[in-house]
């Protein structure tokens, strides 16, 4: 049974890092990229790190950095995930970033967990 929580206002989101809120028993982080919110459960699927405390970096492709394809590096074991697709970067894994669905109501962000 999912519960709807108020997260924050859309204007509170910043590019480049997550803001983190405690919603019930869950820690949830959100950031924004190209005008779209990205909302995650703050729990790395690899070993349970608070992944929203990781670094958001441009994805390196060949010898270039792709600023429009950010990756999130876990603050513990350093795994990197594509922030758009949620999949691991550079190696195959079935593990994905735990993305959460959100709803916007008058620029307020709501999340179902």
């Amino acid at each position: 049974m999912k519960t709807k929580y108020y997260f924050d206002e859309l204007t509170a989101l910043q590019e480049g890092y997550f803001i983190i809120r405690q919603l019930g028993n869950h820690s949830v982080g959100a950031t924004i990229h190209e005008g779209k919110p990205i909302v995650l459960l703050d729990y790395c699927p690899h070993a349970g790190a608070p992944i929203c405390k990781g670094k958001i970096l441009p994805k390196p492709v060949a010898m270039q950095l792709e600023e429009n394809h950010p990756v999130l590096r876990c603050p513990w074991h350093g795994w990197e995930f594509n922030m758009k697709s949620g999949d691991t970067f550079k190696f195959h894994s079935n593990l994905r970033l735990p993305k959460l669905q959100y709803e916007l109501e008058n620029d307020s962000i709501y999340i179902w967990i």
């Binding site: 070993a47 608070p50 603050p75 513990w76 074991h77 350093g78």
Partner: protein
């Protein structure tokens, strides 16, 4: 994941100072001035890593990760059922890789006193381990005798790679003191510097990826020569803990070493039993960083093949980047091994847990 584990001994917890000034009260001249003016002077990190060296969420507001007791309590001790945590220090382990001996010995001694006086009393769950400048073996041995009777000092830390094999007579005063004081000798790899040997026989690793993959090499060399030298017969109370160096390689040694010994035992005349028997009797291995095979249960089959269930101990390595929490390690081992790996195997190793005679 089933319920929490009842009790855990964490054999590898990296505490450190938030500033060199914390050691000032424990140093005398001329070493105090040298620290003030020139810093520790132990080798900095040699290899380039592309990521953070320590967990990003473990950084306190002041100082580096591992220097703040409150975070230890919140992120490790209270979060899990950690009954005892063995403090293994951090940067200070570089004293063994400095080219001189008196200043590094003084730094090690200052660290040990600071650790005993300012960490062990902070929390009854903490146990201590000593750092030593092993290029000065007699001084290092004196340091072991100085603290060895302290009930909560249970271990000495040595770097895994050394200039001579630890079994060489040069280091015998250190091994003898540890055996007499009933302290476990923990080997822990350390980034090398000017005076340290390379961890590989083919020269210096290119970067941290190579280095961190290859760190098991010096542990293997130490183990083999500790066995063949006969020092385990000379000092039967020696107990080694191979921290963070892996353990699957121990299976190679268990099988290859016995095979070689059956032909070549005249080269190791002090031995009274097969090399594998010394390995099971005198060595334990840290389970972290946990091996992560594609199929988790493959690790259990490997451990069973080497009969290593009772030789593994848990060390979290908090707050380093590759630290593993207990519940993560539990995904790779069967439930019936948890009591041994998280508590009993370590309890059998340290004097602190011995019943009074």
């Amino acid at each position: 994941m089933s319920a929490k584990i009842q009790a855990i001994i964490d054999c590898d917890v990296h505490n450190t100072y938030h500033s060199q000034t914390q050691l000032y009260p424990y140093l005398q001249e001329p070493w105090l001035s040298r620290l003030k003016e020139r810093g520790f002077g132990y080798p900095p990190e040699t290899f380039f890593s592309s990521i953070h060296p320590k967990r990003l969420d473990a950084k306190p507001e002041i100082g580096t990760a591992g220097s703040d007791y409150r975070l230890f309590k919140e992120q490790l001790l209270d979060k899990f059922s950690i009954q005892y945590a063995i403090l293994t220090g951090e940067g200070i382990s570089g004293v063994s890789y400095m080219p001189d001996s008196e200043y590094p010995s003084a730094l090690a001694s200052a660290y040990n006193q600071w650790m005993v006086e300012e960490w062990l009393d902070k929390d009854e769950r903490f146990l201590g381990s000593l750092h030593l400048a092993i290029q000065a073996p007699e001084t290092a041995a004196a340091e072991i005798y100085r603290w060895g009777k302290h009930p909560k000092v249970v271990q000495i830390n040595l770097p895994a790679a050394t200039t001579l094999p630890l079994a060489h007579p040069f280091y015998r005063p250190v091994l003898r003191a540890a055996a007499e004081m009933d302290l476990v000798i923990a080997l822990h790899f350390r980034q090398p510097g000017l005076s340290a040997p390379s961890i590989t026989p083919v020269g210096i690793p290119f970067h941290y990826l190579d280095y961190h993959t290859l760190v098991s090499l010096p542990y293997q060399a130490q183990l083999v020569m500790l066995v063949t030298s006969g020092v385990l017969e000379e000092l039967p109370n020696l107990k080694f803990l191979m921290m963070e160096g892996g353990f699957i390689w121990a299976i190679h040694l268990l099988w290859r070493f016995d095979k070689e010994y059956k032909a070549l035992n005249r080269l190791a005349p002090a031995l009274k039993k097969l090399p594998s028997e010394y390995i099971y009797q005198h060595f334990k291995f840290g389970i972290q960083p946990i091996y992560e095979p594609r199929e988790a249960s493959a690790l259990q089959r490997v451990i069973e093949a080497g009969e290593l269930q009772n030789s593994l101990v848990f060390g979290s390595d908090y707050p380093h980047w590759d630290a593993d929490e207990p519940d993560f390690i539990r995904r790779f081992i069967p439930k019936e091994w948890e009591q041994g790996i998280f508590y009993d195997n370590a309890a059998s190793w340290y004097k602190f847990f011995k019943q009074p005679a």
